[in-house]
């Protein structure tokens, strides 16, 4: 009789225990974190290559470099482009890591990595009015041309639904007047927040190139 009672008691405890386990797992908030992974590929260099659509021999290249991405000196010596007025250019944006090991002969091209990650990256262009106050840059949608000195149309798009622009390949249309100004180029990393506008996300690289627009380009 005593043994019977023990068996009943033990069974009841085990069943009650399983119910409590169910209850506790009901109320447990499981959370997992993938910690910060250091060593994202740095981008030291942004290169703009502009080719006149109507005069293929009219090519210019602007190279902005900051080898030490932790606030090191910036090399502006080649960071300039000269474009003709009333002209259309195709502009390619190249991203490189020139801080490659000495043993390696070639720079590391980051552009293909950004191309592969285009669903959450966007290149933005705007005028830096701090030096040339009247220089205006627009990135209009396809079709309209504004009165800005520089109109930049992003030609490439991503695989989102609907597709959103990326900006690695662009069409640049210059205005009718001679002008000069500073073009601010930023690469935005927008994981799950890419919506076609520049503000969301973080900035992978911010570079500036001086743009000269002249009717008589030499």
């Amino acid at each position: 009789m005593k043994r019977n009672k023990s068996v009943i008691a033990v069974s009841a405890i085990i069943i009650a225990g399983s119910y409590m386990m169910l209850w506790s797992s009901c109320n447990k908030k499981a959370e997992y974190t993938a910690p910060i992974v250091p060593g994202n590929e740095p981008i030291t260099t942004l290169r703009l290559i502009a080719q006149n659509i109507n005069e293929p021999s009219d090519i210019d290249t602007g190279i902005w470099t900051q080898l030490n991405t932790n606030g090191g000196p910036i090399d502006f010596s080649k960071a300039h482009l000269t474009l003709k007025t009333n002209a259309s250019y195709r502009m390619y944006v190249d991203l490189l890591d020139l801080d490659f090991p000495v043993s390696t002969d070639t720079p590391y091209f980051v552009t293909p990595l950004i191309e592969a990650r285009k669903n959450f990256h966007l290149l933005c262009f705007q005028a830096d009015a701090s030096f040339f106050g009247n220089f205006a840059v627009e990135t209009p949608a396809w079709g309209p041309t504004t009165a800005a000195a520089l109109n930049i149309y992003r030609e490439d798009s991503d695989a989102n639904t609907p597709p959103l622009a990326v900006g690695l390949i662009d069409s640049v249309v210059t205005g009718s007047d001679s002008s000069s100004g500073i073009l601010d180029i930023t690469l935005h990393h927008q994981p799950n927040v890419k919506n076609g506008t520049c503000p969301p996300g973080s900035i992978d690289i911010e570079a500036t190139d001086t743009i000269y627009i002249s009717p008589n380009k030499r």
């Binding site: 069974s11 009650a16 225990g17 989102n160 994981p191 799950n192 996300g201």
Partner: protein
């Protein structure tokens, strides 16, 4: 599903055939019992998921046609990320005669979430994820089922106070699939959380099992059960605030919820008439 059930029916028929032949051979002490009898039990135990429902694989592989092309990631959309959980319920068996009866089960079954770290790492890395500095993955709700099942039961005596019970139960299953919240942080910027909502679906399901039952007294008994459970609900999955085509994202889930329940049942038995 039909194929699976027909296999279950065949298996149970075979078990019943073997059991019947054994049962007839050793029943002298049960002749004094009167039927019909009713057994009402409280049951609880461990639920061990199996198959794709228990898989915790984020993606199988990724392929790319050329440098710069967007890699095609073969996400494992069948992974259910279900871990071992528990179940509890009320069961009753109405024994028409010394071998056959009708059993029913009202039960609740819940699974833990397994492989959450895989989801966090998968969402962080590239290809397969968003290529961000950090990901926080939080489980939303839980995967569970409510079951209302009924079916034939067969019992046979093993010894004076020891019985072997078999049952095949089928019926209604209401299932829930756990969701998740994902928060991405990159370059010191934490983006708004997006989530996979908890999903639910109704389905036809079943359970096949055996139990060893020990009669402590004329009215009280305790049983150790092992049951295979199966249902295949067709979940429609909603993703909220999911803006860009990156990372594992499912829009439906139609894999079997299957596994083993290992339970202890405390019975109260009474004679009806």
């Amino acid at each position: 599903m039909r194929k699976q059930l027909s296999k279950i029916y065949l298996l149970s028929a075979a078990i019943c055939f073997v059991a019947t032949s054994r049962g007839f051979a050793q029943e002298p002490d049960k002749k004094t019992r009167d039927y019909p009898r009713l057994m009402i039990g409280v049951t609880g135990g461990v639920s061990i998921p199996m198959g794709k429902f228990a898989q915790t694989i984020y993606s199988n592989d990724a392929t790319t046609s050329s440098a710069g092309a967007v890699p095609t990631v073969n996400y494992n959309t069948g992974s259910g990320f279900a871990g071992t959980g528990g179940n509890g319920g009320i069961t009753a068996t109405y024994l028409i005669n010394k071998h056959w009866g009708i059993a029913e089960l009202f039960s609740y079954q819940q699974f833990s979430f397994a492989g959450g770290q895989n989801m966090a790492y998968g969402m962080q890395a590239f290809p397969g994820g968003f290529d961000v500095d950090s990901v926080t993955f939080q489980v939303r709700g839980n995967s569970h089922t409510f079951n209302i099942l009924i079916g034939p039961a067969y019992t046979m005596s093993l010894a004076k106070k020891l019985d072997l019970d078999f049952r095949l139960l089928v019926g209604f299953v209401n299932a829930n699939l756990a969701g998740n919240n994902i928060t991405l942080t990159d370059g010191g910027v934490t983006d708004p959380t997006f989530y996979q909502a908890v999903s639910w679906a109704n389905s036809f399901g079943g359970q096949l099992g055996a139990a060893v039952r020990y009669s402590i007294s004329d009215h009280i008994g305790v049983a150790l059960n092992a049951d295979f459970f199966y249902s295949k609900p067709d979940f429609e999955v909603n993703n909220i605030n999911r803006n860009n085509a990156a990372g594992r994202e499912i829009f439906s889930y139609n894999e079997p919820i299957e596994g083993i329940n290992a339970n202890l049942t405390l019975y109260y038995m009474l004679q009806l008439h």
